[in-house]
Structure formats: C-alpha cells, structure tokens
C-alpha cells in the first residue's frame, strides 16, 4: 500500500441476511482526495459506505483504512482509525439536544475542530443548541450531522446524500463547507444524487452498478465523457 492511500477497498462483498448486495467493489481513495460514488438508487452506494464501517450483516474481501485491514473489526474499532460517518438519514438523535448531539461522539483522531469553530462554520447551530434533535429542520440536522464528525478529528469522511431534500441555499452552504474541508486536507467519499453539486467538488467519480464499480472518470475527463456518464445514471 502506498503512503498516499487512505482507503483501499478490494473485492468487497456485502450481505444483509440472504441478500448479496455488493459483488466485488474495488476502489481506492488517496489522502486529501474527494471522490464520489455515483449511480442509480439501489446500486449499492449506501451499502458501500456501511460496509466500510462494518455495519452490514456480513462482508468479505478487504477494506484497508490507513494501512489497517478492517474486515473482521467491530464498527467502533474501525471508526477509531479516524473515520467520520454522515448517514443518509442524518442520524440525529431525537432525544438529545443539538449540543448533546454535537458533543456526543468520542474523539477518533487529533486536530478536531472546537465547538466554537463549528458554531462559526454553522451559525444556525449555535442558536439552536438547546433544541431537541427532533425539532431541528432538515438543513439544521444536516449541518449538525456534518459538524459532529468534524469535532472528533476524523480524517476520512463518508458522506451519504448530504444535499438530499434540502433548499438550494443550504445546498450551497454545504458545498462551501465541503470545499473548505478539502482545502484543509480531509479525505472525502461522497455518495451523491445531485450530480451538479458533486461534479464541482470531486477529483474522481466512480460509477456503481449492481454492487460493483463499472467505470471511473477523472475530473478533467468529465466534460468529454458527459454522454457516457448520463447513460449510466439514466438522466
């Protein structure tokens, strides 16, 4: 494994009970890179993120995080290698206040942002810090879900559909946040339906179909491969 690789997924198969969801995923993400997993609904992108964290029934193959093999590790041990996860359903705990949600996660690495810095990045959260998680708007929940993994010092961020169902102004704010994270050297795997959002940020796009990677596009090739990509995504 080269020194620049932070995540290497090799021949990853994942199962929920009897159903076989991933059929040999192969991809790598280098330190400081932002890659997207593109594909139609049900192609296995969310399952890929969950498999990296060990949140599926069973997985085989290899997932190297920061040089460590994680297949066979318990989810909390994998995360402690420096992984931050922003789930599709956002995963804000309804019975905790916004601030409790923000400070709940144990540190998984050094150099996390302070609560104060996070409130500066997402000012709405400061006003809403006493509100129960269940009372936050979709946009506030999404910002909170992002903010809490930035506090713990995670270096590899797995972001699942962070713009889904949000107003354009919030999508723009999230775009700025993700861009600034990339500039700060974070490594990001982005599962995204909103291709316009993803295309402006990513170094590389992996296309997922039926639980495996079927194609890869570098950012510089995107312009000339647009037709091909659109046929994959069916847009």
């Amino acid at each position: 494994m080269s020194a620049t690789e932070l995540l290497r997924v090799t021949d990853l198969h994942a199962f929920y009970g009897e159903s076989h969801i991933l059929h040999g995923m192969d991809f790598t993400v280098n330190r400081g890179e932002l890659v997207t997993l593109l594909g139609r609904n049900g192609s296995g992108r969310t399952t890929t993120l969950k498999s990296i964290l060990g949140m599926v029934g069973k997985r085989t193959g290899s997932v190297m995080v920061n040089g460590r093999e994680t297949v066979g590790m318990a989810p909390h041990r994998i995360v402690q290698l420096g992984v931050g996860y922003c789930p599709e359903e956002r995963g804000i705990f309804a019975s905790l206040s916004a601030e409790e949600n923000l400070t709940l996660l144990p540190p998984v690495g050094s150099g996390g942002l302070s609560v104060e810095e996070l409130y500066e990045m997402f000012p709405n959260l400061r006003e809403r810090r006493k509100s129960p998680g269940s009372r936050l708007s979709g946009g506030e929940q999404q910002m909170l879900a992002m903010a809490r993994i930035l506090r713990v010092g995670a270096k590899l961020l797995l972001l699942d559909e962070i713009t889904e169902g949000l107003a354009p102004v919030i999508v723009q704010a999230l775009g700025r946040a993700v861009r600034s994270l990339k500039e700060k050297g974070f490594t990001v795997v982005l599962v995204e339906q909103n291709f316009r959002f993803a295309s402006k940020l990513a170094d590389r796009h992996y296309v997922v179909e039926h639980g495996r990677i079927v194609d890869t596009f570098a950012r510089e090739d995107l312009e000339k491969s647009m037709d091909k990509l659109q046929s994959y995504l069916g847009v």
């Binding site: 949140m55 995360v79 789930p87 705990f93 709940l104 713990v152």
Partner: protein
C-alpha cells in the same frame, strides 16, 4: 384515619420497590432490548446474598447494601457476556425465554439449598423503632426504604437525562448500530447497562430483606406486578417507570383501604384500561 395512612404507607413502600425494579427493567429494555424476566429472581438473589452474608459470614446490613448489588451486577455481566449476547440478532422473544429459563434455574437452586420457608432478616440497629406522627406510626426502617429508593431513582434519572453518560445511553436506546458507527463501544455499554439494571434489582432485594421474608419465591410474586407497572408506564420510559411505580403502589394501598378484595387486581385492571386507550403506555412513545 390511622388505617388509611397505614395502608398508604404500605403502598408507598411497595411502590418504592416497584419503582426500583421497573427502573432497572426499563433501562435494560431500552438499550439492550431484552425483556429481563430474571429481574425478580435477581432481586431475590440480592436479598439472599444479604441473608447468607449475615447468617454465615457475619456481614451486616450496611456492607451488604453495597456488596450484594455488586455481586448481583457481576452475575448479570457474566450472563450478558456468555448467553444474552448471542441472542441480539434474534427476535427479542428469545431473550425473554432465556431469562425465564434462568429464573427457573436460580429459584430452583435457592429452593433446593434453603427450602421454601421464609428467613427473617433483622432490621439494622440504627433504623429500629419509629416515631408517632400523630395520625400514624412511622417505623424508621420503612421511612428509610422510601427515602433511599426515591433518592436512587432520582439519581438514576438525573444521570440518564442530564449527563454525558446518560446521553450515550439515550442515543444507544434510539439507535445502537448508529452509535457504534460513531466510535462508541456499544457492546461494552450493553454489558454494563445490563449489569447496572440487575444490580438495582439486587439493591432492592437487600432493602426488602428486613421487610419481607427472604424466600426463593419472593421475586416471582413481585415481578408480575412490576411487569404490569412497566407496561402501564410505557416500556423503556425511565421517568414513566419511577412515577408509575410509586403511583401504583399508592393506588394499591388506597384500594386496600377502600375495598380490600380488589387490592390484588387493581393494578391489572389499570393495565388493561391503559393498554386499550394508550397501547404504548402512559409515558411511552410509539416506536
């Protein structure tokens, strides 16, 4: 009037035990998702540990108040690690069956060793006697039981609702898999939570020893009512367990004064009504 207050005091004491036991059941059900049928047997075990400690080792009430729940808690940790843990992927009916089996085994063991007759446990010297309040006679030990139970319940509620440790518990109760995906050692939390919940039962057992006879069946007669309390309060609601526990104890006491024959069934009648009107319980949220 004396009789009314006397019955209300008995109700308040029973209610204190209901609250302690249903609190433990609720915490366990919330995070571990197991209906711990062995709760009554472990309450009995707590009382027996205290009695054995006193009669064979000369360990008094005060050390027993700490040591006995600790021992029951350790027993719970062992049970969780070696048996319960294997059932989490299955329907929670299996957890109920396992703990029901454990109840039979634990009760059988004590029954075999110590027979079925009750053993009395003396009230500790410092809490003997009582005072006449004018409208009723209040034995010191009973006042102590009510006070300490409520204190322990309140402290548990405070820790769960107001501290970081409690935030973990609340988050884990909502979504344990997600909490683990944020780097929290949820399996360890479940072990410790189960241990703490049954330690509360052991604690209630020691508290009960000087009031009720220490016998192998003392848990099974109580636990049926406690399950009714948990259902009325709402499965998994901490606050609901405490309030419902104390409240139903008082209702029982009041019924004993107003219409004694109904005292044993009033809790179940209330349970039936609550299930009809609010299936999730008075303080429960629909899942």
């Amino acid at each position: 009037m004396q009789a009314l207050f006397g019955q209300l005091l008995v109700g308040l004491i029973n209610g204190s035990f209901y609250a302690l036991l249903s609190l433990g059941l609720s915490i366990i059900f919330g995070l571990v998702n197991v209906v711990n049928f062995a709760h009554g047997a472990l309450y009995m075990t707590g009382a027996f540990f205290a009695w054995i400690g006193l009669s064979s080792l000369g360990i008094g009430y005060w050390p027993a108040l700490l040591l006995s729940p600790l021992a029951v808690g350790v027993l719970g940790v062992v049970v969780e690690r070696t048996m319960l843990r294997r059932l989490y992927q299955l329907d929670n009916l299996y957890g109920l069956l396992l703990t029901f089996g454990l109840t039979l085994i634990i009760e059988g063991l004590f029954h075999h060793q110590y027979g079925n007759s009750g053993n009395s446990f003396p009230v500790p010297e410092a809490l003997q006697g009582g005072s006449n309040l004018g409208f009723m006679y209040l034995p010191k030990y009973r006042a102590w039981v009510v006070l300490v139970s409520l204190l322990v319940c309140f402290a548990s509620w405070f820790v769960i609702e107001r501290t970081k440790l409690g935030a973990y518990l609340r988050a884990g109760t909502e979504n344990p898999r997600l909490l683990q995906a944020f780097g929290v050692n949820v399996p360890l939390m479940m072990t410790l939570t189960f241990g703490f919940g049954v330690a509360l039962a052991g604690f209630a057992g020691v508290m009960a020893a000087p009031i009720y006879q220490v016998s192998p069946s003392m848990g099974s007669s109580l636990i049926i009512v406690v399950f009714a309390v948990v259902v009325i309060g709402g499965m998994g609601s901490i606050f609901g367990s405490i309030v419902t526990g104390v409240g139903l104890g008082l209702v029982e006491g009041l019924t004993k004064y107003l219409y004694p024959p109904a005292a044993a069934t009033v809790v179940f009648a209330i349970m039936a009504v609550v299930l009809l009107l609010r299936p999730a319980g008075l303080f429960g949220r629909e899942k």
